[in-house]
């Protein structure tokens, strides 16, 4: 893993151990700021600051995790789950009945990438649900 990537994880790992904070100035659209204030009033988060930090942290964590996954897959290609396998996992996470139909998910994964090469697991689930519906009709 490259030096900058290691540095990113080092800072992220400090988030739960380190209470140090700094005051910073961020230029943001005025409408975004106002929408955030209203959303906080409606219960989205305790404060505008909490909402901002949480959104930013979630985005950073997701970016870093994807980088770690892709780095791992490049070193261990056999570890990369197929699109159908990820779709099966997504179905199991949701307790989706399609989790009982791995053959249908494999077919849906094969078909959906033909029209959408960057298809996600959820794209496969939508496609599989359509196949299931057609089959049932």
């Amino acid at each position: 893993m490259a030096t900058r990537e290691v540095e990113l994880f080092r800072w992220l790992d400090r988030l739960d151990r380190d209470d140090e904070s700094i005051v910073t100035s961020v230029r943001q659209p005025a409408a975004l700021r106002e929408a955030l204030r209203v959303a906080v009033d409606l219960g989205m988060d305790a404060t505008v600051n909490d909402a901002t930090v949480r959104a930013l942290r979630d985005r950073l964590e997701t970016f870093a995790q994807r980088m770690a996954l892709e780095s791992h897959y490049s070193q261990h290609p056999e570890a990369r789950p197929s699109l159908a396998e990820v779709a099966l996992a997504a179905a199991e996470l949701d307790d989706n009945p399609l989790s009982q139909e791995p053959a249908l998910l494999r077919r849906a994964a094969d078909e959906v990438v033909a029209v959408k090469p960057d298809a996600s697991a959820d794209d496969v689930l939508v496609w599989a649900a359509a196949l299931h519906s057609v089959r049932a009709s």
Partner: protein, 142 residues
């Protein structure tokens, strides 16, 4: 059928994730990959949690060099138990006749955003525990 909001890892899920040669490595990665895909598309974010007792059982010291793989792939947040959580875990342990660590997994699942998924190799014990939880939990075999 509801989209998961939280995933709680048990001992074998951690072992499988952190060891590229583990027979369940690829399957466990498929769940982490699915979580990551969903979080990229900014649906309701899914958080991954690990009770600290599970980390102890699994020998997951985040500061150890050999933990770097599981640290980076799981991006799991620790669930630290306070007194009330320990009381709840103790009651669950007695009611379901399970191990201390399994009871802490169940308590962590109950305290996590719902709907919660427990990724485990011990489906029988976890399902017994999940049936006792307020709000329940989906138990998924890795």
């Amino acid at each position: 059928m509801t989209a998961a909001a939280a995933v709680v890892l048990d001992n074998e899920a951690i072992q499988a994730l952190g060891t590229a040669t583990h027979p369940k490595h690829r399957r466990t990665l498929s769940f982490i990959d699915a979580v990551n895909q969903r979080n990229q598309r900014r649906r309701t974010p899914i958080s991954v949690f690990v009770p600290v007792a599970v980390r102890v059982e699994a020998g997951w010291d985040r500061t150890a060099p050999e933990s770097s793989l599981v640290n980076r792939l799981a991006r799991a947040r620790d669930v630290v138990q306070n007194g009330a959580a320990a009381d709840r875990a103790a009651r669950l342990r007695v009611a379901a006749e399970v191990s201390v660590v399994d009871a802490t997994v169940a308590q962590a699942a109950e305290a996590s955003p719902s709907p919660t998924v427990i990724l485990t190799s011990d489906v029988a014990d976890m399902r017994r525990l999940a049936a006792l939880l307020d709000g329940g939990a989906q138990v998924v075999r890795i």
